[in-house]
Amino acid sequence: MYTDKVLDHFTNPRNVGEIEDASGVGEVGNMKCGDIMKMYLKINDSTNVIEDVTFKTFGCGAAIATSSMSTEMIKGKSIDEALSLTNKAIADALDGLPPVKMHCSVLAEEALKAALLDYQKKSGKNLGLNEEDFEDWDEE
């Protein structure tokens, strides 16, 4: 069902935890669907580089593995690079997910954008993120 990479990231998730003085925090998902993901970003205000990133996830194996993988993929990257990260790229980096689990990877992409939106609000920078885009954010 799951690839070795998914199982690896599930078993040894990278960057679990909280960041005390995070530049941006995003939480997405809901209890009804059984998946909630929270992402913390530490961003260098002058270079726009994501210097640190952590997550917490309540969700299935795929949800935890995609959370973990996404943090690895954006750590040390610029905000622009992070903004272009798609759920498909995360899933590909894990050598794929079962079709029924693709929606779990959406969660990671969503959480990241939510955290960046929070940073946009806090920093006053315009990252081109729009609150409304989140309201009707849909799976696939």
Partner: protein, 394 residues
């Protein structure tokens, strides 16, 4: 590494006596029981002996035993067939909200055909009340289905009371005994049922064989058509190897039941107590009393079930969960939700179903290993974080 199978409610290993009996059939008795020649006749005889064994196990008459392809099929012939064949008598059906999908989805199909169905609610341990049942009865109620014991939380239902009322009111009564046969006494004359379903692979027999008990004189109709096998209710060449395998399995299961169930009940209680004591914010799902001897179901709050399962599996503990995320569907177990659990609690449910191979040492291991697993998953759970910070949990 350790490898403990804790999913006996999902399926059981096939016991050696059963395998040997099946292999003998596969090698020596391949004939078609409908053939009147020397290859067919002995097979017919074996099949009828198997029917007698199965009948004896549930105190039925051999003529009341119909071999079918699975527990699901038995449930469906009883329900779809029983309701459709008696449509003229009335349009109302009753079942419970915590049945297996083989029952529930059959009723959903009947609703689409125009039947009205009452789904009885359950209390917080998953049990229906006889009072609710009585209140649900109508003049046009023709068919009732209440499972003997629940597959997720092990709750035993008051089927004798329901059966007595149905018999008195001449309403057809089906019980899904897939989880109970071989675990607790099952006697069709005491349950007063008209139909009963059981399945081979839950009692150390093969997969792909089920039994429909149908009381003499009761009418149903088949789901599909063909040869005249199994009184036309289950046409198609009979699966003799599985029929023999099931008959061996059920005979042994019933013979060993008293002793094995006492042993399992003790292990079950030790496991429940150990987990609840060892892991904070954990609750038992289903009742303390009136529970299948091999069923443990706990919710470890603020953890998601599939993640829990996968981690358990890595530590050699194979269990199951009522979380949506394991099933691919979005809602968590309909049984847990019907019992009034919140989504959070339902998602964190873990079913550990014990069996013949389970030892006391296994139980100790589970109690010991589950705690750090819960801790680790909680450490990465934003919901646990909310809980600890005293924040509201959606």
């Amino acid at each position: 590494m350790r490898s403990i199978y804790l999913d006996h409610a999902a399926t059981t290993p096939v016991r050696e006596e059963v395998i040997e009996a099946m292999v003998k059939v596969l090698r020596e008795n391949f004939g078609n029981p409908s053939s009147i020649h020397q290859f067919g006749r002995p097979v017919r005889k074996m099949m009828e002996e198997a029917r007698e064994k199965v009948a004896k196990a549930i105190n039925a008459d051999p003529r009341e035993i119909i071999f079918v392809g699975s527990g699901t099929e038995a449930d469906n012939i009883a329900i779809l067939g029983g309701a459709r064949a008696n449509k003229k008598k009335g349009n109302h059906l009753i079942t419970t909200s915590v049945e297996h999908h083989a029952v529930l989805d059959a009723f959903k199909a009947l609703e689409k055909e125009g039947f009205e169905v009452t789904y009885l609610p359950v209390d917080e341990v998953g049990r229906i009340s006889v009072e609710d049942f009585k209140n649900a009865l109508r003049d046009d109620t023709i068919f009732v289905s209440v499972m003997h014991a629940n597959n997720e939380v092990g709750t035993i239902m008051p089927v004798e009371e329901i059966g007595a009322i149905c018999r008195e009111k001449k309403i057809l009564f089906h019980t899904d005994a897939v989880q109970s046969v071989g675990k607790i006494p099952v006697d069709v004359t005491k349950i007063n049922c008209d139909f009963l379903a059981l399945s081979g692979h839950k009692l150390y027999g093969p997969k792909g064989i089920g039994v429909l008990y149908m009381r003499r004189g009761v009418r149903t109709q088949p789901l599909y058509f063909g040869g005249g096998q199994e009184r036309k209710l289950r046409p198609g060449t009979e699966n003799i190897a599985n029929i023999i395998g099931l008959s061996v399995a059920i005979e042994l299961a019933v013979a060993e039941m008293e002793q094995e169930s006492a042993r399992l009940s003790k292990l079950r209680d030790k496991l429940i107590d150990g987990v609840l004591a060892n892991i904070e914010e954990t609750r038992l799902n289903g009742p303390r009393e009136g529970r299948l001897p091999h069923n443990v179901n706990v919710s470890i709050e603020y953890i998601e079930g599939e993640a829990l399962l996968l981690t358990c599996d890595m530590k050699g503990m194979a269990a199951s969960s009522g979380s949506a995320c394991t099933s691919g569907s979005l809602d968590p177990s309909h049984v847990l939700m019907a019992m009034g659990l919140t989504h959070t609690t339902a998602h964190g449910s873990l079913r550990l179903s014990l069996g013949k191979s389970t030892t006391e040492d296994d139980i100790d291991y589970i109690i010991r290993e589950l705690q750090p697993i819960a801790e680790r998953l909680r450490a990465m759970s934003p919901v646990w974080e909310r809980f600890q910070k005293g924040l509201p949990i959606a």
